[in-house]
Symmetry: D2
């Protein structure tokens, strides 16, 4: 393999995709920095860039070291009107944003926060992809809201939609680092565990290697992550696709493939874990026998535009909370 | 509450415990830095201190910001003879180390990697504690190897052992950040998921608040964590015990208690999660319906001193791995 | 309520459905008699009718006592050509059978062993229903192969298909007594647990009350069960729909509604279980923490007509079993 | 093997045990007849003997056919003073009953409803066994309240207690047909699932073969079942121990060992299930991904003699239920 770092480090993403390269994205900023103590859950605002630049820089360094080819600006929610945000829930909004950016002469990557059931208005993934490409997007895909398997199902539907319409585009996937087999259309925010009880859903590095391989087989060439994607998950993408790309990421100096670092352990049963077959087949336990394996998403049947979904100017009052809580109790009893 | 940081920041740990303070420990270095890309799993050596001082410093900063009162030297495995290591598996070894340190005139904290079933020779926790205190330890407790609930069970037994013997000592607990209800005497390293599939076992911040509260009730006054304890877990200890200590940690500026940051969310069902009762009672799901909730620990009946447990000078050969794998297959069929 | 037994006991099923009655079907014969020792698993032949008429009669009595309005002839697989069998996997076969029976001047009920994904050729449920009604069936529905929730999903699709085609028919559902959320198109026989490890999937009486209520809401008026449906499951249907039907089944003399028989228990926490709200909301545990909650169905990609699916004249040889086992191992590792 | 039925069919149980035979007990009457529609849950009275003798006779026939050597009188709770009852919760009561029976000149089998933690007064199993043998019992053991694994743990402790005291007795085990790893001292009645949600805990035939083998290895020679033990479970005991006993039960004509009846199935993956290795290693799924695998037993800290545990003369009132329910809510929130 070529020395870590890889060819073409200075070229733009679109250029690299055009030349057939695999581009490795980066991972989670807000959720990861929340756990490190620099972001407030609920607000999810990126003031850490200003307040704690060292902490942000450190995380950027870790993703680069893990093999990421890009440095996405850490500005989710940073602008008032959300224009630059890459998070679209509705095909119409996404399409409109693409058109505006295209007029500015920029090549556009447009990803949506949607699952196999389509966007929040029920437009299916294939149709969304077609709309975005027709509006001018050169790269289309999904990010956030859904876990690795679900995101790849959506990508498959996008790809099929484009093929059926005779259109071409580069494909991009940035899944959550959490497993979400039980999500509804609203994605992981509707799971009762969001955002402070998602721990047991965190993907292992082996889950992510599988995700990278399947994405590659599907023809996706920009492969990264979103909320919950830690540096070692990005490294897992880079390691899985090292044969195709011809090089390993810098951080692989600290990671033997498939746990090979365990083969000098004093306990023989731990040495026996230093092999691909072991980690690929292991069904890891949750250590939580009193808990279920799936949850029912919350979703109280409210739709966009109703009073309940308005941005709150003030924090929920005690009275409002009591009402909400009653609704929930009623719901959970159904 | 008093401004963050708290009183007595310059005094020694023993002095602080004597004066009745609660000391908040720090958390996981090796396992956390492995995920960030700076430590090699299996070897678990702390060369990052030299190679990547910024990454190590950043993690120290996060723990301090989360409320830790201490900065433990990051030197697990760093010395050849393991003398300074705080990790003891046998009461005899621990006792001997305490005696040596005591002769050097130092006040001693001695913690053991043991669970309720006692040390690797089967000496029960109460007896271990008595031996350590008689040898001269001023602080006794457990760290690593077992999760929060299990570690507290052990602490209870230690406390009862000391009481029965009419002895006094400060108590210290540094649990794993992983749930391990299914561990045998060897602790989490024997779980099939160690070290690359522990994700679903990671404790939530609410689990850790409960752990801090129970430890406090038990009389433990040095409360920290070990492998798997991230900065937000340490913050959970500091927040839970803020009423007793009189101040919050710096990082709490980024964390409303019990998820209060969610009370301005646009979706009413997410606003309804901004309350203690919600997070305390939630049984979070694993998102892994094809997986079990508990595992059978590996442990092939070998005992200390047998050939199989010798430190390997060279990596396991393919032939050795095949033999180990066969043993394991046989075992899992039982 | 009217005395048990109910009105119209002598009329035919079609006649009863026409008059707006709810007909309660019966349940499982082969699988239940296997557990009682009178049927051989794998062969599933009904020779017990001749060999052990008392055992068969007893089970018929139990279903009648539980509220069943019918006595289905226990002849699954009993004829060489399977003509009378109500188990169809393909819409074409079912349609042909309906046409033959119709020529004989009989009113016909045609049910298929299919799930929401359609029959084994992929014909969707709505289309199947339309074909059957056009061929002359007066009653259409599903039986066997899938559990309560899945069977109702299929019924919903059948109903929508008929509505879209402007057709009318009586609806009939005879679900398994096992939960099968993880089934593929082949149904429960492809689950690794079939037929000797299905115990943890058995529905509770409360699951079946819910099933009966939902079926009723959907417009289904012939509601019964198939494999795994024990007498108390049939009683649960009859009890749930007692308000609509106006009478309780005979066996309800031995069953207070919603566990009311518990309200004289000596332990207060058991008395507290004598209420609807308790049983409806309880998430019952499996008592199997080392097991998963879902399985991957077997299905080796073979299709009808291939050599592997031929009826075996002789039992599988050891050599064949070894080959099959190897395939399976390979599959499970994927 | 000898023809089914076996030698010595007319001799008494003690005589048979003395001669070294393995005696196979019978199984569940009340819980099984409740599901068949002849017993009322909560009261659990055996009036079916009078009201529905055919149904009771049929179940007796099934157990005999499955290989049971005995026909226990179906009189649990049938006498006012509970004298003949084999269900003891306290060593003192059991001991006293044994003494009375011994004075009547009868050889006595005394089994207790206890788990590894001892009887309801906390007397450990070894001590209980010693008391019973000293009082005159020729056979001691456990029945009901706990599942197969737990019951065998208790038997092991009883055996060790007797050995330590230099006493001898025949050992007898009659476990539940339900798995109860999560039970407290009160046994399965305290599980929230008792008695109408125990389905997912039902043992498979393979679980029971394992139980029979382990009981035999432990030296237990009277092996049967209690609540939840269906005829096919009894057959599993008889089949597992057929090599030692020299004959198979009558019902084995309908059951090839280890699923061998599947080897002529049309689907190759089902044929592949016709082998011991398959069923022994399969981790069967619950089909209930929204449910946990273990439950917290109810137990409100009340002790014998308190008002709350008095037998109720009348059914619980609505007001009482509300109070109980409130207590429970409070408890579950802890």
């Amino acid at each position: 393999m070529a020395p870590a770092g890889g060819p073409g480090a200075k070229r733009g993403i679109l250029e690299r995709l055009e030349s057939g390269e695999v581009v490795v994205g980066d991972g989670s900023f807000l959720i990861t920095l929340e756990k490190r103590g620099y972001v407030k859950a609920g607000l999810w605002t990126p003031e850490a860039v200003v307040e704690q630049p060292d902490a942000v820089r450190q995380l950027h360094m870790e993703f680069l070291r893990a093999g990421s080819n890009v440095m996405q600006t850490f500005t989710f929610s940073a602008s008032e009107d959300n224009m630059e945000s890459k998070y679209f829930e509705h095909a119409e909004e996404a399409m409109w944003a693409v058109e505006v950016l295209k007029e500015l002469g920029k090549p556009v990557a447009a990803t949506m926060c949607i699952g196999p059931d389509g966007d929040m208005h029920g437009v299916p993934p294939g149709e969304c992809a077609v709309k975005l490409v027709k509006a001018g997007a050169a790269i289309v895909g999904v990010n956030c809201r859904f876990g690795p398997s679900t995101s790849l199902k959506t990508m498959k539907l996008m790809k099929e939609g484009l093929q059926a319409a005779g259109l071409k585009a580069h494909l991009m996937v940035q899944s959550l680092g959490f497993h979400t087999p039980d999500c509804g259309r609203g994605g992981f925010v509707d799971l009762p565990e969001y955002p402070f009880g998602l721990e047991p859903r965190v993907a292992t590095r082996w889950d992510i290697q599988k995700y990278a391989r399947e994405a590659y087989r599907l023809g996706v060439r920009y492969i990264g992550g979103c909320c919950g994607f830690e540096p070692y998950h990005i490294r897992a993408i880079a390691e899985e696709l090292a044969p195709e790309r011809g090089f390993l990421p810098p951080a692989s100096e600290k990671h033997g493939s498939w746990g090979s670092g365990l083969d000098m352990h004093t306990k023989p049963w731990i040495r026996a874990r230093a092999r691909k077959e072991y980690w690929e087949n292991l069904r890891i336990a949750s250590g939580r026998p009193y808990n279920p394996s799936m949850s029912k998403p919350d979703a109280w049947g409210v739709t966009k535009g109703t009073a309940e979904l308005m941005q709150q100017k003030e924090a929920t009052t005690e009275q409002q909370l009591r009402e909400l809580f009653e609704k929930q109790k009623f719901k959970s009893a159904q």
